[in-house]
Each structure stands twice: as structure tokens, then as C-alpha cells.
Symmetry: C2
Subunit: 397 residues, 2 copies
């Protein structure tokens, strides 16, 4: 993907990169000046700990407790693990929970790198059924679980994975009620299994934060082992590659920490010190305030360019945060990697992520993930026009 992005003339609506023009150069420079000043301790250039910088964990815990006032910052900080992006937290979570042949319950669509990772670890995915609105449907899940009990698949379910804020790829969020109903259905089916909540885009709302509390505070999830993962890089600087997870199950967290000890024994201590500085001095929040309207304007630019597709039977919801549009093509139009649409888009110089990559098999191949984060507004408009031209031609034909 990264290589394709570098091809001249090709416009990528596929890459999940962040807006390059607003990267927080000044905030990082100022943090680096402070941390590397002649009278500052050199300790950030030394190894840190496997769990992560205490200073950073405390700042993040206080931040999360401000978003969800019921949570105890002390507990959050002690249950936190700093990782190489939230991706490593997801990897460690699955690696410590699952053996080959096990199953994880996921939304449809879900984060496609998570699906690839499951497959790499020999772990299967089972989809939570969706209702007419395309959201996870607790009642349909209840029926599905009865079926999976019969087939023996229910016994192999080791975890449930939710991308619950401005999802990659759907752009949608789970409201508290629906999130709680999912817990109740699982609980009633005797499946009090670990839940992994991926909140990577939670802080990338365009206007107001999404009102739903995380699984960490929702009462229906209280008895479940919980891991809540968030990234520090998507909302700030992807090049620092830091994320974190809060885990309320100590045995599980210590297992993850143990495996992390074998993988790298601790994320870059220097990068952690830089982010801690930016969190502490307000630069992190100023950066968020700066990028929110940028992403909203980019969403608008892409949506405006795509608008003609609505008349051709294409549908999508306008996301209130995140970096993605999730398009449904008219029934019968294939969008997968080897489809005519995908080939024609490549020829026309526009890249997208085929939606079937985001769906556990057997997948319906008529969805498209478009990212509006990387390209500048005028290039987004041009990429959108290219996509529309191809899609109109193929929808007509």
C-alpha cells in the first residue's frame, strides 16, 4: 500500500495515514527541546520498563477518567500497558487469549488488519449479525449463539472485539444501550468471555465526543474481563507509534506484559516521554482541536465529490468522526480486489480498500472503504471524481 501511494498520479483513498499537513511538528519539537535540554535528565534515552512510563500511564489514566468520571485513575494506570501503537495491544490481547482453532466474535464490517492478524495466528472470526441499519444486532446474536452452541462453535469463542467509536471502517459508533445489550446476550448465553474494545478513533470526533461510555464503565460488562485499547499516534503523530491498553484482568495483563517482554521489552522510552510532555502541557489537546475541523472538512470534500453516486443506488452514512467513509454499492456490483470496479479504479488512478477485506468470510463483496485523511482537499475532490466516473460507468453497465 505504502509503495502504491508513492506512484506518481495515483490518488489513494485506501491508506489509513493521517493528514500530513497538520502533523504536530512544533509540539514534538518543543517536547524534544525540553526532554533533551542540557539540564534535563537523560533517562528518556535509556531503556524504560516493559509496562510503560509511569508518568505517561498516569497522564493517560487521568485523561480517561475525565472522559468517564466513574473510573478510578489509580486503577487505570496500574492496569495499563503502553504498546507500539494500539495494534500491538490488539496482537498481544489475541496472542494471550487464543490458540489456533479458537474463534473471536467481531462486528461486520470490522478492522481488516485485525482479521488478517487473527488469520495469521490461526484464529477464526465469527460475525455478530447486523440489523437493517447495519449495526450489531443483539437479538440476532442471541439466535446465532443458540445455533453456535449446537455446532460447537460457541465453546470455541474466546473473545469479542468491538471497534465502537467511529469505527474503522464503518465510521459508526455503538451507543451505550446497544453495547450493553450485547453484553447481556453474551452473559445470558453463558459466554462471559474477554472483550477487547478498540477505541482508536474515539478522540477524533469532529464536534462533540460520542456520549457512550466504554466497556470499562458500562454495568452490563462489569463481570467480563475487559481490555480497552487506544492509540496515541492516530490523533497526534503516527510516526511516534505509541498506543496503550487498559486491562482490568490482572492475569491477562501480566500475560501480555510477559509476551511483550519477549517481543521488545518496552516501547520507545523517548517517544513515550515526548507524548507525555505534549499531554501534560496541553499541546496534545491543541493538536486534537486543530485536526478535528480539518478532518471534518476533508470528509465534506469527499462526500461532495461522491454525491452523484447516491442517485445510482450507492449509500453511506455520514460519519461524525474518524477517517473513513463506508460505501455500499448497489446490489450486484462487485467491489473486491479482482472486480472490474477495482481494476478500473486502479486504471483511473484511484485506490480504495475493498470492503470484503473488512468482513469475516463468507463476505458480501459490495462495500468500499474510503479514507479521507491522507489527501489534501483538492486531491480528495479529484479522487472522488475519478471514483464516481468509474462507478457510474459500471453501475450503468
Amino acid at each position: 500500500m505504502a509503495q502504491a501511494v508513492e506512484r506518481p498520479g495515483l490518488l489513494s483513498l485506501a491508506a489509513g495515514f493521517t493528514d500530513p499537513a497538520s502533523l504536530p511538528r512544533e509540539a514534538v519539537a518543543s517536547a524534544a527541546r525540553l526532554r533533551l535540554a542540557p539540564d534535563a535528565p537523560t533517562e528518556p534515552l535509556q531503556y524504560g520498563t516493559n509496562q510503560g512510563r509511569l508518568e505517561l500511564r498516569e497522564l493517560l489514566a487521568a485523561r480517561l477518567a475525565r472522559a468517564e468520571p466513574g473510573l478510578d485513575p489509580g486503577l487505570l494506570g496500574r492496569g495499563m500497558l503502553v504498546t507500539n501503537g494500539s495494534q500491538q495491544a490488539l496482537y498481544l490481547a489475541v496472542q494471550t487469549l487464543c490458540d489456533p482453532g479458537d474463534l473471536v466474535l467481531v462486528e461486520q464490517p470490522t478492522y481488516f488488519v485485525f482479521l488478517e492478524m487473527l488469520s495469521g495466528l490461526g484464529v477464526g472470526a465469527r460475525a455478530i449479525p447486523v440489523d437493517d441499519s447495519g449495526l450489531a444486532d443483539p437479538e440476532a446474536l442471541r439466535r446465532r449463539l443458540v445455533e453456535w452452541r449446537r455446532t460447537g462453535e460457541a465453546e470455541r469463542l474466546r473473545a469479542v472485539y468491538l471497534v465502537s467509536y467511529y469505527s474503522n471502517p464503518s465510521g459508526r459508533s455503538l451507543d451505550a444501550d446497544r453495547k450493553e445489550r450485547l453484553a447481556e446476550v453474551l452473559s445470558e448465553a453463558g459466554l462471559v468471555i474477554p472483550v477487547v474494545e478498540d477505541a482508536a478513533y474515539r478522540e477524533l470526533h469532529f464536534r462533540e465526543p460520542h456520549p457512550a461510555a466504554s466497556v470499562l464503565s458500562l454495568p452490563a460488562w462489569a463481570s467480563f474481563p475487559k481490555l480497552y485499547a487506544q492509540t496515541l499516534t492516530k490523533p497526534f503523530a503516527t510516526g511516534l507509534k505509541l498506543g496503550y491498553a487498559v486491562c482490568d484482568d490482572e492475569t491477562w495483563r501480566l500475560k501480555m506484559q510477559h509476551v511483550k517482554g519477549h517481543q521488545d521489552f518496552g516501547s520507545s522510552n523517548f517517544a513515550q516521554a515526548l507524548v507525555a510532555t505534549a499531554l501534560g502541557n496541553g499541546d496534545y489537546d491543541r493538536q486534537l482541536e486543530r485536526v478535528r475541523p480539518i478532518y471534518e472538512a476533508k470528509r465534506d470534500a469527499l462526500e461532495t465529490a461522491l454525491a452523484p453516486l447516491r442517485a445510482r443506488g450507492w449509500t453511506w452514512e455520514q460519519p461524525a468522526g474518524g477517517l473513513y467513509l463506508w460505501l455500499a454499492a448497489p446490489r450486484g456490483l462487485e467491489t473486491s480486489m479482482d472486480s472490474a470496479l477495482c481494476r478500473a479504479c486502479l486504471e483511473a488512478g484511484v485506490l480504495y480498500v475493498p470492503g470484503d477485506l473488512c468482513l469475516p468470510a463468507p463476505a458480501e463483496g459490495r462495500f468500499v472503504r474510503l479514507s479521507f485523511a491522507l489527501l489534501p482537499v483538492d486531491a480528495l475532490a479529484e479522487a472522488g471524481r475519478r471514483f464516481v466516473a468509474v462507478a457510474e460507468r459500471l453501475t450503468a453497465g
Copy 2:
């Protein structure tokens, strides 16, 4: 370990940390100023690629080709994977080669985190026998392989792991002849299995570099799939947490890259840019020249303090590089975690790594790994005195 280090009064000869006083603050600050200057591209703050920065790979490849003139820098750069310290390279190497129940051939002693990692992945270790000098013994390995052929263990050997420059923990290096003899013995036994050469300490020689070429250029290893791992953090700044591997087997490297894509899709691009700057402008080499005499003086300080033990039957070799002394206690004196020596050392306020952790089971429990890297010279002398006082008491009794 990190927590124990922070206990007041306790002196750690256990932690593999680097010298704090000489951490390259100025070099990192200058690289950060350059990379974050108002007119510099912000791209280091964006995602990089899974394989690692091209700029960094090219600099490292040219550097390695200077150390081993037969190597082709173009090939090296293309076969390189940048990782979160060399630790991640070791992890990915084993993860992609081995299934649970498989075996890896290791030296004795060997890097204890590698042994723990094998165990975490369900992989066993088999030791290359040593000769009277304590080095890997090719002839004894030949006999052992015949035995392992009979027991079926030879078929389960998936890789051989060598820490061949100023080894952690032994401080010793493998000369080219011995390294080649190992390849010949394996080859003659029909075991042309992947070799992982861990050269983490290669550049931390005190005077001259060790003359032995790596497995990448030694003719006897030519037909083996090879991975050569080196760290950028031990010789420069551990807080940046970067390492790399060169792998001449494309299938194997692509598998590792694939798994790395699931673990973190690329190490911190910003940290990579900082190290590339320091490699390019000479700061990296100036830092090496600065720390070499520091570590040599620290080795001397610890050895001087330990000298009285020689009369009590303790033995060790003086290392010409690296960060460790590897002590053999007189036969009969136990050094393991639950030994009287270990407990008495803790009480006396000095920490060491019990040598049996560095030996594949069944392990002889009379070795001690001491690191002279972390403590300042006067604290090293004091830590050495504490160790000697305890050891003399227990050797006498």
C-alpha cells in the same frame, strides 16, 4: 528488574542497561532539531513502512558492507527489516520458523531472554556442547547430532542461534574458523537449517573490532538461510528502541515482515529518522568512540574489585567488548536464584543474574552474569566489593 534497580542502596550488576552518563543527548537533540526544523518535511511524524525507512536501511547496509567488504550493500538493504530493538527481530525469526515442540540449537551460555522467549513460544532449546575453554565445540556437536538423530531430536531442530560477538552473557566471540566448523558439522549432518546470528554487541568492542566475519560472508554458511541481527540502541540510545535484521532468505524475511505487519506495521518512523541522521552525520560513530573507553574503564573497575575471588577458585575471562563479565564459581557453589549466594547478595545490596538462566536445562548452577554498564565506576567498585565479601564468606564456608 527495573523496579529492583530503583530500590535505594541496592546496586545492580544485573540490569543490561547502558551507561546513563554518556547517553547521546546532544546527538539526538541535534537530529531532532534538523528533522523538526520549520522547513524540514514532516514525513518522519507520519507512518513509515513495515520494512523500515529506506534511508536508514541504506545507511546500515553501507555500514555493514564496510565491516565486511564482500557484501553487496544493495542486497543487504533490500533484505533488511527494521525492528523494535533486535529483540523483535529475534522474536519474529523464531515465530516464523518454529511451531511448538520444535527445537533451536543454542550456545551455552546464551542470551537468557532468548531462552525465555523460546519457552514462551513453546519451543525447546538444545545446547551446542562446549570444549574445555568453554566455547562451542564442533567435534562434540558432531557426536551429539548423531545421538539426536537416534532420538529423533535432530529432525525437530529448526534453527541455530549464535551470539557471536562479545556475547551476552559470556563476553566471548566466535572466531571465523570455529564459526565455519559449526556450519560444516551441521551441513555434514544434513542440517542446513536457518542460522540466526545475534551481533548486538559487535560494535561495542573496546579497542579493535573482532576480526571474524559474520555468517553473511563466511563461505561455510553460504547455503544456509541466514538472519543477522544487530541493535541500534545498545551502542547509541536504548530509549529509541531500534534494531534491524538482514535476512538473505526472501521467503523467510517476507514472513517476518508479514507478522510484523500484524504486530505493529512498522517501527517508529521518527526514531528511525533520528538514528539515520546520526548515522549520516557521524554522530553515531562519535558516540561509539566516546563510549568504548568508558565501558573498558568500567570493565576494569569491576574486575579490579573482583580480583580477590581468583584466589578463591573463581574464574572468568576478560572480555574485549560488550557489557558483561561471566564468572564461574568454584565447583559446588550454587549461584541460582534460590541459592544462599543469591539471597546473601540481595541482603548485601548487590544484584546479579544467576547463570543458570542463561543455560538450557539441565543447567549447571555455578555461573554468574555481571553487567558493568549501568553503574558509575565508584558504585561498580562498591558493588564488586559487596559481591566479593559475600562470595568469600560462602566459598570459605
